[in-house]
């Protein structure tokens, strides 16, 4: 497809070689607490057609860098150094001069596709706007081009969708539209700032594919800003790792992943749970938190968290030393020591010793059942009308699922957003009879519970930890009150409460002296520990974990996962673990259930299901998860699902997955008949492994 309306391609000013060159970039913001040194001394050269990833945790300065390059930083920011596009300096240019470059030579894809498009204009209007700013073309020509672009990024029936408003698009489609917007004028540099963070893995795989296609079509250089090392491994040519505003390691993707020379990079790589891990071992945990960039102490900013720290690390901040390969630089005084022994995270970071539970030695079928769902359904009526409300349909949120959790066991529940995971846990927590089917908690049938008192006493045994550790803690309550609240509700004596809160804080790795502080004085990881302490207060037997680590930075996430593992073994807990990150589930769960549109499509022992997936949806889901291993990523073949999850109010007939199924597409007309007519049962495909497909067939995807 032609990318240009006028027929002839835009003449590239830089066909090959360096397009964008950043040298010694410093960005400082004034703040009440003092100057915020967001970026300190970043340099890189970006060649045409190349993809460079900037990796780092929140606050590391990666987004500020992208805004500085685009000239979209706040007016208060003080920027020094040099940013050159085609050899011409960009710093110091006015808004008018930068506006001519933005959208034309420099383009950007933002993180949140929900808020990055203006809600009151159609997608078509927003794309034509960017074309018409930079080119003197008629509106109809620009509209024709917009349709072409939408087609290029894989929006179905672009002729119609070009007239849609952003809210009529799903998240994945909006991000595709954002990419269409970015490539509309055939830019030389595309900056993608966390382009897939807000999306489901299946959609992430689609969008990354579109981004690669857009890069091929335009030949642009791409700066990919992300915290996801798996995405980096699959997409980037070169990597810059940032920490506390500073580049701490730079080099080709293989060198960064296979021979990292900076302890932070090593720790980061070791703290990611990997889908391809053969044996379960504890994750590397980086103690502490990234420093505040307001008052940075002298020396290496990573020193307080680094197990290899020496005296001079606290005094002299290391520059980027060239390592064995001069192209590969690392900001560590002791990179040579690391290189000499080729140390990995196991050699550097203390791995916590996680005890194994007593319960794990008892065979599964001899353990007590903690939670059992039998054919559980939850349907919501779809109502219409303001005064005379009438039922116009049904949302089949959960449509008959069977689950069982034994004592000391972790069941992972996975699936795309909208598949019914959250409804399932809400039903369990409510302890009320579902639409149909049954819930049995500790042998107690919820249909038999009468009255709030009995339900309340049962609640002691089931507690929950939520996804967002900030939103789930009352900002006006000190930590002591937060943790003591469930004890108060269940009339625990006051002296006992105090003892218990101290004990709980120690249990989750916090200082008892922190009890009088407020949630906002803690970092994300610490807040999640407070949430866990609160859930543990009543000594429950089952904890429902609703995406407990997905809002946390990678290095923090590992610590929380290790803590959950440890608590489970120590206290003999059972977990119902809801997550969209399959690598985390594989690490923590014993069994896993894969949900799709309100049904379980595959269930069983976690290594069995993940190593030998037989349902096409599980295979697609696993194949969409990026693995932080560049060589593996390059050789992997992705199964890309078509489109988005259908509406649970109007599910397809027969097998609900058939509309997006890659296997269905390969079947003959006759073979398709069962898929169209009947929902497959969960067929036994192995020892503790069932899969709901008419044509179950194992396929290796990891």
């Amino acid at each position: 497809m032609s990318i240009d309306v006028t027929g002839d391609r835009k003449v590239r000013r830089t066909q090959s070689g360096t397009v964008l060159s950043v040298a010694d970039l410093h960005v400082t913001f004034p703040s009440e607490a003092g100057p915020v040194r967001a970026v300190r001394g970043l340099s890189f050269d970006l060649a045409a057609g190349e993809t460079m990833a900037i990796v780092g945790e929140s606050g590391s300065g990666k987004s500020v860098t992208s805004l500085a390059v685009m000239g979209l930083h706040p007016d208060t920011a003080k920027i020094t150094g040099s940013i050159k596009l085609h050899g011409e300096e960009l710093l110091g240019r006015g808004d008018a001069a930068m506006s001519n470059l933005r959208g034309n030579e420099l383009a950007m894809v933002f993180q949140d596709p929900l808020s990055a498009l203006t809600p009151v204009y159609t997608i078509g209007d927003q794309i034509t706007e960017t074309i018409q700013i930079h080119r003197d073309v008629s509106r109809s020509a620009a509209m024709k081009r917009a349709v072409e672009l939408l087609d290029l990024v894989g929006i179905p029936s672009p002729q119609l969708r070009v007239k849609s408003f952003p809210h009529e698009f799903s998240g994945g489609m909006r991000q595709r539209a954002m990419i269409a917007l970015a490539i509309a004028n055939d830019p030389d540099v595309i900056i993608a700032d966390e382009p897939t963070t807000a999306l489901d893995v299946t959609i992430q795989a689609q969008v990354l594919e579109v981004l690669k296609k857009a890069q091929r079509e335009t030949g642009a250089a791409v700066i990919l800003i992300t915290h996801d090392l798996g995405v980096v491994a699959g997409v980037a040519d070169r990597v810059t790792v940032m920490y506390a505003g500073r580049p701490v390691e730079q080099g080709a993707v293989d060198e960064i992943f296979y021979t990292p020379r900076m302890p932070y990079t090593i720790g980061l790589l070791g703290s990611v749970p990997r889908l391809d891990a053969d044996v379960k071992e504890p994750l590397a945990t980086l103690q502490g938190n990234p420093p505040s960039v307001v008052e940075l102490p002298a020396g290496c900013p990573f020193a307080p968290r680094c197990p290899m720290v020496q005296d001079n690390c606290r005094v002299i901040e290391p520059p980027l030393y060239p390592t064995e390969n001069p192209e590969h630089t690392a900001a560590c005084h002791y990179w040579a020591d690391i290189a000499a022994e080729n140390r990995s995270y196991r050699d550097i970071f203390p791995l916590p010793d996680i005890p194994t539970s007593q319960l794990e030695r008892i065979p599964r079928d001899q353990r007590r059942t903690v939670l059992q769902l039998e054919g559980m359904q939850r349907h919501y009526p779809l109502m219409k009308g303001a005064i005379f409300r009438r039922r116009v349909g049904t949302v089949y949120a959960v449509d008959g699922i069977d689950l069982e959790i034994k004592e000391g066991e972790t069941l992972g529940l996975v699936g795309e957003s909208g598949c019914g995971k959250s409804t399932t846990i809400l039903e369990v927590l409510q302890l009320k009879p579902p639409t149909a089917g049954n819930i049995v908690v500790f042998g107690k049938d919820v249909r038999g519970i009468n009255g709030g008192r009995e339900r309340k006493s049962l609640r002691r045994d089931i507690q929950v930890v939520f996804q967002d550790p900030m939103a789930s803690l009352d900002p006006r309550m000190p930590v002591f009150d937060i943790i003591a609240e469930p004890l108060g509700v269940h009339n625990v004596a006051k002296a006992e409460v105090e003892r218990r809160v101290v004990e709980l804080l120690e249990l989750v790795g916090l200082e008892p002296s922190h009890a009088s502080r407020f949630p906002q004085q803690f970092s994300g990881g610490q807040r999640q520990r407070i949430g866990i302490a609160r859930a543990l207060a009543l000594e429950p037997k089952l904890i429902v974990l609703d995406e407990p680590v997905s809002a946390l930075d990678v290095s923090i996430q590992a610590g929380v996962i290790n803590l959950l593992d440890e608590l489970k073994a120590k206290l003999g807990l059972s977990y119902l673990f809801v997550a969209h990150d399959l690598a985390v589930v594989q690490h923590i769960a014993d069994r896993v259930a894969v949900m799709y549109l309100g049904n379980i499509v595959e269930i069983g022992e976690v290594s069995e299901v993940f190593r030998h997936p037989t349902h096409p949806y599980t295979q697609a889901l696993l194949s969409a998860i990026p693995i932080p291993d560049p060589r593996k990523e390059r050789s992997r073949e992705r199964i890309l699902l078509k489109g988005d999850l259908p509406s649970p109010a109007n599910p397809p007939s027969g097998c609900k997955f058939r509309t997006r199924c890659q296997r269905f597409a390969t079947l003959t007309e006759g073979e398709r008949q069962p898929c169209l007519e009947t929902m497959p049962d969960l067929y036994v495909v192995g020892q503790d492994h069932n899969s709901a497909c008419h044509y179950n067939e194992e396929r290796q995807v990891v």
Binding site: L101, G103, V120, Q126
Partner: protein, 326 residues
């Protein structure tokens, strides 16, 4: 859309009926027109008082639901009833409605347009001197009672007239002496309107600029404004086209709803500049135990509110495509 509006209108009609009926019962039981006659000196013949009250459907000896029915059947035929001295409420309302309209239209339109512009502009200059000055000015106006603002304006206008020797500002009533040149009537009315319009405009600017500034600050930081700039729009244009348009949606709703208070809430302005409008009539009706007048003013305010509500719906539908489609 048409069907949707029709359904809304039906809802509003029911609402209006309930509100007006409740007001009728309240006014008919609490106001005491008989008292007006009983305090007369020399005393009037009770029989003739009763006869007068009966004639105008105001006698408290008739059960209130019967009075209501008589009144309601009248209303259905477009007759809103009489005062004790035989004045027809319809005439009064008809005249005053237009007085109010003439008084508030220009002032409120100027107020909203200038207010929105000032609010949007100051938002882009947050915490600079101009923004702070606008904030202080607006708060000052909002904090000052209308009575004081109007009086101060009157004094200033007098000073101006004296100093310049031209009677530019006229501030009593709607019309006064006028010359014989062409369009003299219009100029005369304009002169009389000048001062109340300034008062209303100032108040409008003060409140709308506050609202718009806050709304604008929310959208200025929005991701889509950044996207618009990343596309190559200059800051000014990105703000005008993407931030302002979105920030106008709530202002549209707010404006529509304020239509009702515009007509009946300008009591003090009417009083000071001697415009015999609706606001003053409402107050006078209650003072003079005028049952039917009170109910009619309430009904008028109700119609204004509901018109405002319809207007708000239409406004939002025009400004916000998300509503239009669902």
């Amino acid at each position: 859309m048409g069907k949707y509006l029709l359904r809304r209108l039906l809802n509003y009609a029911i609402l209006l009926f309930v509100a007006v009926t409740l007001t009728y019962f309240l006014a008919a039981t609490q106001l005491n027109p008989r008292g007006l006659f009983e305090v007369r000196n020399p005393p009037l013949d009770p029989a003739s008082i009763e006869a007068t009250l009966l004639q105008y459907n105001l006698s408290d000896r008739v059960p209130v639901h019967e009075r209501w029915w008589t009144w309601f059947t009248g209303v259905l035929q477009g007759d809103w009833g009489y005062t004790v001295d035989g004045g027809h409420v319809n005439d009064e309302i008809k005249r005053r409605m237009w007085v109010s309209l003439r008084l508030v239209t220009v002032g409120s339109i100027l107020g909203i347009v200038l207010g929105v512009a000032l609010g949007a502009w100051t938002a882009t200059r947050q915490y600079r001197a101009s923004d702070r000055a606008a904030t202080v000015g607006s708060l000052l106006i909002l904090a000052t009672p209308v009575l004081v603002i109007a009086t101060v304006l009157t004094i200033l206008a007098t000073k101006f007239n004296q100093a310049s020797g031209i009677r530019l500002f006229e501030f009593t009533g709607e019309t006064g002496e006028r010359g014989t040149y062409p369009l003299a009537a219009l100029v005369d009315r304009g002169q009389h309107l000048l001062l109340p319009t300034i008062a209303l405009t100032l108040i409008g600017i003060a409140s709308y600029s506050r609202i718009q500034r806050n709304l604008m600050l929310d959208t200025l930081g929005a991701d889509y404004v950044r996207t618009a700039r990343a596309k190559g729009l200059r800051k000014q244009k990105a703000v005008m086209k993407h931030a302002l348009r979105t920030a106008l949606i709530p202002t549209g709703t707010y404006f529509a709803f304020s239509v009702a208070t515009l007509f009946t809430g300008a009591t003090i302005t009417e009083q000071i500049f001697t415009f015999h409008g609706m606001g003053i009539y409402g107050v006078q009706s209650i003072q003079q135990q005028n049952v039917h007048g009170t109910v009619a003013v309430t009904a008028f305010a109700g119609v204004c509110t509901l018109t405002g509500a319809v207007l708000a719906d239409v406004m939002v539908a025009i400004l916000d495509p998300r509503v239009r489609l669902s």
